[in-house]
């Protein structure tokens, strides 16, 4: 289980995320919802160790991982898919995926890409030899997820996977996230502005407003609470 306790995260002197407590249970997809700029990405970066915590703690399966650096979080089984689909553009698709297991002791270039990854994302197999930078936006998003999956993580952190992606691909990504949870037993923490995607895949939701959790519950509870109109309407 991934849990944050009273975390405060920011940049320099300014604080963006205030006293946030969230929990991601095993085999659960949890969505953090909120408008642009409310601190969703900062929260994810703080959990991953990309931003230092200004306060509070992050626990992974009961262990305090608050001070771990990103590569140490990866070694603990936390996969990260960033907002900007940061794939390694000058490296082949296949080696991008292999780099996902960089924290393992195995030789990357001698290891095969696990077949399940190409089953989830067949377009990547067709382009396995192409440079990552030549892929379309949707394919880059798939590659970023595939790379994170190759580490066989226990938890996957996804930062707005729908951003800039055409609706049909967004739907496909949503279906794949559910398959990943159901078939691979991976817990997913997704931050999203896309309400449709988040509500379709999430088991539990948190609503963030100016860096604080203002509502939480199942997707149904969130919809009936009025939070959608109050905090999520554009």
């Amino acid at each position: 289980m991934l849990r944050t306790s009273d975390v405060q995260i920011g940049y320099g002197e300014s604080t963006v995320v205030w006293d946030v407590d969230i929990e991601v249970e095993t085999d659960q997809i949890v969505a953090v919802l909120g408008r642009n700029g409310v601190g969703k990405t900062t929260l994810l970066r703080g959990i991953m160790g990309l931003n230092d915590l200004q306060g509070g703690h992050v626990f992974l399966d009961g262990e305090n991982v608050s001070t771990l650096r990103p590569f140490e979080m990866a070694a603990k089984g936390v996969g990260y898919v960033p907002q900007s689909r940061d794939i390694f553009g000058a490296i082949s698709v296949e080696n991008n995926i292999r780099l996902g297991s960089a924290s393992s002791d195995e030789f990357l270039l001698k290891s095969d890409v696990p077949p399940f990854i190409y089953e989830y994302f067949p377009a990547l197999e067709e382009k396995s030899g192409a440079k990552g930078g030549t892929l379309s936006g949707g394919q880059k998003q798939q590659l970023a997820i595939a790379r994170a999956l190759n580490a066989d993580p226990s938890h996957l952190l996804l930062d707005e996977p729908s951003e800039g992606i055409q609706p049909s691909i967004v739907h496909e990504i949503g279906e794949q996230l559910k398959r990943i949870r159901d078939n691979r037993g991976i817990s997913v923490l997704i931050v999203e502005q896309n309400l449709n995607l988040a509500m379709a895949v999430a088991d539990y939701c948190y609503v963030l407003e100016t860096g604080r959790v203002v509502e939480q519950g199942t997707p149904e509870e969130i919809e009936s609470s009025g939070a959608v109109d109050e905090y999520l309407a554009v």
Partner: protein, 298 residues
């Protein structure tokens, strides 16, 4: 100004091709370390020439102590590689996002290295014996064996370096770190170790080039300055971030330098200026270089 060995050896027209090859090889060899540190890592390392100079002095010191010139060639990259690692750990690591500060810091390091060498070895020119004496016969001309050795070493070094970055885990991870340090860390790569290793390797190549080239040059504490400028020109004209670009840049600029020296015989400065003009024209109309890096990510 393109530095060539042509200025320090008596020339015959029949030797021009082989001399050009040696000159080009020397340029590419010296620029290879900068290809990694500046071209790939994006660090404006103004200490590159000084690192090469330290490599040359290391070779001199080893020989002066009575050891084989071969030992100098082995030790020089190790010594300079360690200096590079120390630079990365103490200064460069804090300056990856601050190019202007990097310029100042590396220029400062260059001055410190020059002064340290002057204090340790004095101001007089030093000479270094080549590891291979004698001559070989190539293309019908008698050719110093050490010159042929420089060509062979350059080919081997470039092949190993290209292979290292294309076909090894360390190389692929280094490329990932260079492209996106934050994301590389998030996939599990210890970026500090990778940066340190890559910078140290680039520095080691500078040291190796200094030791290899030392027998052809007057070894003094400021010898690296001209090579620094030449190396940046080769890397930029060839295409920043590609080893094949560095080779192309070295072939073009080194070849033109020797050609102009032959055509404009007796006017070395004009020949050097002509090479610089060609380089500027290329940079003006092809800023990405002769062989540009491919997709570098977003």
């Amino acid at each position: 100004m393109i530095t060539t060995i042509a200025s320090v050896v008596p020339l015959q027209l029949a030797d021009r091709v082989l001399i050009s090859l040696t000159s080009i090889s020397g340029l590419v060899l010296v620029a290879s370390g900068l290809t990694i540190i500046f071209g790939l890592m994006g660090v404006l390392n103004l200490a590159h020439g000084a690192l090469m100079m330290v490599g040359a002095y290391t070779a001199y010191a080893v020989q002066s102590a009575g050891f084989s010139p071969w030992l100098g060639i082995v030790i020089a990259p190790l010594v300079v590689g360690l200096i590079g690692v120390a630079m990365e750990v103490t200064l460069i690591r804090r300056l990856y996002d601050r190019p202007l500060d990097t310029l100042l810091a590396t220029w400062g390091i260059a001055i410190v290295l020059q002064e340290a060498v002057t204090i340790a070895f004095g101001t007089s020119q030093k000479s270094v014996a080549p590891p291979i004496e004698g001559s070989v016969s190539l293309l019908g001309v008698t050719y110093p064996a050490h010159w042929a050795f420089i060509i062979v070493v350059t080919i081997v070094v470039m092949a190993i370096t290209i292979g290292l970055f294309a076909y090894t885990d360390i190389g692929i991870m280094a490329l990932a770190v260079i492209q996106d340090r934050e994301m590389a860390s998030a996939v599990g790569i210890n970026t500090r170790v990778s940066d340190r290793t890559t910078f140290g390797f680039g520095s080691a190549l500078a040291g190796l080039s200094g030791a290899i080239m030392a027998p052809l040059l007057s070894v003094n504490s400021t010898m690296g300055i001209a090579w620094l400028a030449d190396s940046f020109l080769v890397v930029i004209v060839g295409g920043v971030g590609t080893f094949t670009g560095t080779i192309a840049g070295g072939i073009l600029l080194g070849g033109l330098d020797n050609l102009f020296r032959t055509v404009i015989s007796g006017y070395t400065s004009i020949a050097q200026a002509a090479v610089l003009v060609v380089a500027l024209i290329i940079i003006r109309y092809r800023p990405q270089g002769l062989i540009p890096a491919g997709e570098r990510g977003e």
